[in-house]
Symmetry: C2
Subunit: 203 residues, 2 copies
């Protein structure tokens, strides 16, 4: 297909496609004339992945390149892990200095495999500190309730990862980010429903 059709099918403007080609984020098409090239389905898949990484994952191009390099040169699991970790970095890329001790201890107690350098451990540690500051319960049994629910969801999500490499990474990025507001909204609605349920029982 020509670049105009590639643009239509990927929903990425021609100027942006040319920019990605110059930056090496998209492999060149097969030249068919001095100013024309032929593109394929693989280009569509790659563009859809770049869009997911930048628009939904919020990644800067350097991080996008890191994920694509992992996909091209290493392996799908490495690319999936790299993409998943990249979208969890703090917005300004500043690594917190403190060691996330409580989060690390919690995950060890849960028996979960984890990357000791993951930025998500810092997020969890900060969130636990906020619970403490408010005097809310952070005992292991309470946290295990949230952890069990998260793991049950995660196992379904992992089982649904599609087969193609680009599609797999794209699904992980989109699914991780876009199901978050669904889960949070459902939790608030579930709280209202469970509260109504408890009032009906006690009344």
């Amino acid at each position: 297909m020509r670049i105009s059709e590639l643009s239509t099918r990927s929903d990425v403007p021609v100027a942006t496609i040319k920019y990605y080609l110059r930056e090496g984020l998209l492999p060149a098409g097969r030249a068919t004339a001095a100013t024309q090239a032929e593109y394929h389905d693989a280009h569509v898949a790659r563009l859809r992945l770049v869009r997911a990484l930048t628009e939904v994952g919020g990644l800067p191009l350097a991080a996008v390149r890191g994920v694509l390099d992992a996909l091209d040169e290493r392996s799908l699991p490495v690319a999936v892990g790299a993409a998943h970790e990249a979208i969890s970095q703090p917005a300004r890329g500043t690594a917190p200095g403190r060691t996330p001790e409580r989060a690390t201890a919690l995950l060890t107690a849960l028996g979960w495999a984890f990357w000791p350098t993951s930025a998500v451990l810092h997020r969890l540690d900060d969130a636990l500190a906020a619970l403490d500051a408010a005097g809310l319960d952070t005992d292991p049994q309470t946290l295990a309730g949230y952890a069990d629910a998260a793991l049950a969801l995660a196992r379904r999500e992992i089982a649904a990862i599609p087969a193609g490499a680009e599609e797999a990474v794209r699904y992980v990025v989109l699914g991780t980010v876009l199901y978050e507001p669904v889960l949070l909204a459902l939790r608030r609605l579930a709280q209202a429903a469970a509260f109504a349920e408890s009032q009906a029982t006690s009344g």
Copy 2:
């Protein structure tokens, strides 16, 4: 106790306490002299609740007043419901025009009690539209997985609501907001753990 001790125990500055007194968010103490009043534990509890509503719940004072009015004049369940809904309002208070049809249909199918005017229905509707736009799965069975997890968590959370009126509303506000980042961080860590698990099985 004197206002200085009330300030220490509630961790709210004296100037802020005087402002809340003028605004009617805190009942007056018992006057013991022309410029002195005596305060009680009920004032501490009320101040802790106002802090939770403003600092964690992000509520403007008008909304805080609505919750406190419900607590004083109506009933605890009404106050809990009002507080829970108030912290779910969109930041700018602009009500979306569209009817959240899909969210309403989903909750009806789930058999959950809900307020048809809840702002959270709009959040859920928007989140489902984003999944659709990305081509992600929104079939009822997939969404039921998230809904079931949310309801199991919510039932535990509701069962843990403390007895005192101020404490109950405070817990609902703090717990709703402060466990959100815990749940999201645990979900991302669970995804990494479940992915590692799936690779160990398939490799």
